[in-house]
């Protein structure tokens, strides 16, 4: 285990406080929160309740926008995206569990812009780690994950939320089972 349920919940509480401060500082009265499947949705559900947002939570699946389809084929599980509110001219708060290379967030931004033209996009991440391959940085972070090279973490949930030390991405893909876990390196 990397962080137990209590540590994860503490980190999410801290994220909620920082997000409230950030929304106030930017004059954002009615942000639209969108979680990235699967782990990001679990974190976003907590944040959405803690902050008490009025608009329903949006769910985003990035499988069709991944940059590795040409290399590894279709992702084993695609969950429908569901954006209950139009994103045009809205301030979006995008939520994911782990930020590593930044490729998932690149894909998520592309999905978002195929739905419309947001006024702004903020990024909230539960666990930020090394390994960035794109110029993407979170606005709000729950915790900073110090990991050995090659080490993976993944969020398991939805209840309780625990950050586990994970397998390598290749092993994970083969053993991908419905439900149980988020995507470690995303």
């Amino acid at each position: 285990m990397f962080k137990d349920a209590a540590e994860v919940e503490t980190a999410i509480d801290a994220m909620a406080d920082r997000l409230k401060t950030l929304f106030a500082a930017r004059g954002i009265e009615r942000p639209l929160m969108i979680g990235i499947h699967t782990g990001g949705v679990w974190v976003a559900q907590r944040l959405h309740a803690l902050i008490g947002l009025r608009d329903p939570l949006g769910l985003l699946d990035i499988s069709f926008y991944r940059d590795d389809f040409t290399r590894i084929g279709l992702h084993p599980q695609v969950r429908p995206s569901h954006l209950p509110e139009p994103v045009d001219d809205r301030h979006i708060c995008l939520v994911d569990d782990v930020l590593q290379s930044g490729r998932t967030i690149r894909a998520a931004l592309n999905v978002l812009f195929d739905y419309g033209r947001p006024a702004s996009v903020l990024l909230a991440i539960l666990a930020d780690r090394d390994g960035r391959e794109l110029p993407i940085e979170p606005n709000v972070t729950g915790l900073k994950a110090e990991l050995a090279p090659g080490e993976q973490i993944k969020l398991t949930g939805p209840e309780p939320l625990v950050l586990e030390r994970g397998q390598t991405p290749k092993e994970r893909r083969r053993s991908a089972a419905p439900g149980g876990q988020g995507e470690a390196s995303d």
Partner: protein
């Protein structure tokens, strides 16, 4: 071990989609699950996903079908592929070029996928067997044999309305003898574990020994056949069958086998009515049924796009895997 299915690669991934027969329940379920994901694409302002960007899909229609060609074209375009529509009957083959020469020419243009419709059974298999290894083939209907994407879009529509297949009674009404759609539907329904599959038709339009050969219950009376059915699928009555002595007249067919509100009453109260289109109103069914609340005919059209996107992206994905075999996998974090 069974003989390798020409539709699958060595790891069991879908490479061509030629027929439902021979595919496992797991793979059919995977097609349905993936199709769910593609349904949402129409909610986007930009109704496209970049999965097959840079790929070229050629529609090879040896038999005319504007509707089927259009749905394949739209599905490919929603995947961001480029689409060539070749009306083979009026082009190269008419000038004496052989089919294989036509294929070689298209392959030289780096086409990645052929969508094939042909009047001869087995045409898509033939093309798949002779196409270059990097090319996938999707059967858009071959003779009386198979129309697998239509079969799977019907399964998808049934599952969205009814959930599990096990408790269902599904009745297929019409020209089962000549219908590639019925063949694909029956194969998929049985493979997915449907409780009871019935076919209802005049004796002239049902293959001999259908019960054993197809795994169905045969009825010759519509009202008996649809009793307590959960799903009623009407097949299109092809007008050319009128000349072959199979049926006396359209009027006679409607009188005995046309679905009316009254006949529908013996099915389950929440039964759905399906039809692959185009409908002959007043032949296969009464207009009130076609436009009624049980009809899911237009939903089938929308679902067809999602299912075709799923099948096309699965085949292209398999080709991508093959092209990158041995290349180190990069992460996506």
């Amino acid at each position: 071990m069974a003989v390798a299915d020409p539709q699958l690669d060595a790891d069991g991934n879908l490479k061509h989609f030629l027929t439902v027969e021979g595919l496992g329940r797991g793979l059919l379920t995977e097609i349905l699950d993936r199709s769910e994901g593609f349904l949402g694409v129409v909610q986007q302002a930009v109704k496209k996903v970049p999965l097959c960007r840079g790929k070229i899909v050629a529609n090879l229609f040896f038999e005319n079908s504007t509707r089927t060609r259009t749905t394949f074209e739209l599905a490919a375009k929603r995947l961001s592929a480029d689409v060539l529509n070749l009306n083979i009957g009026t082009s190269a083959t008419a000038k004496g070029e052989t089919l294989l020469d036509t294929l070689r020419n298209l392959e030289a243009m780096h086409v990645d996928m052929f969508v094939v419709r042909h009047a001869d059974s087995g045409a898509a298999h033939f093309i798949a067997a002779h196409a270059a290894p990097h090319v996938s083939v999707i059967n858009a209907g071959d003779g009386r044999h198979s129309h697998p994407t239509q079969g799977m879009l019907d399964m998808f529509t049934i599952r969205r309305h009814k959930g599990a297949f096990e408790p269902l009674v599904v009745a297929i009404v019409g020209d089962v003898l000549h219908s590639r759609v019925a063949r694909s539907q029956i194969a998929a329904l049985n493979r997915l574990g449907t409780g009871e599959v019935r076919v209802i038709a005049p004796r002239t339009l049902i293959p001999s020994r259908a019960e054993e050969a197809l795994g169905v219950r045969v009825f010759h009376d519509l009202r008996d056949g649809v009793r307590d059915a959960d799903v009623i699928i009407l097949l299109r009555l092809q007008r050319e069958r009128m000349d072959g002595g199979f049926l006396p007249s359209e009027h006679e067919y409607f009188h005995l086998f046309g679905l009316t509100e009254k006949r529908l009453a013996s099915a389950k109260p929440d039964a759905i009515v399906m039809h692959p289109g185009p409908i002959n109103r007043g032949v296969e069914m009464d207009s009130r049924v076609a436009d009624g609340e049980r009809s899911v005919i237009l939903e089938q059209v929308s679902n067809g796009l999602a299912v075709r996107m799923a099948v096309m992206s699965m085949c292209i994905g398999t080709q991508n895997l093959a092209a990158n075999a041995g290349v180190h996998e990069g992460g996506h974090g």
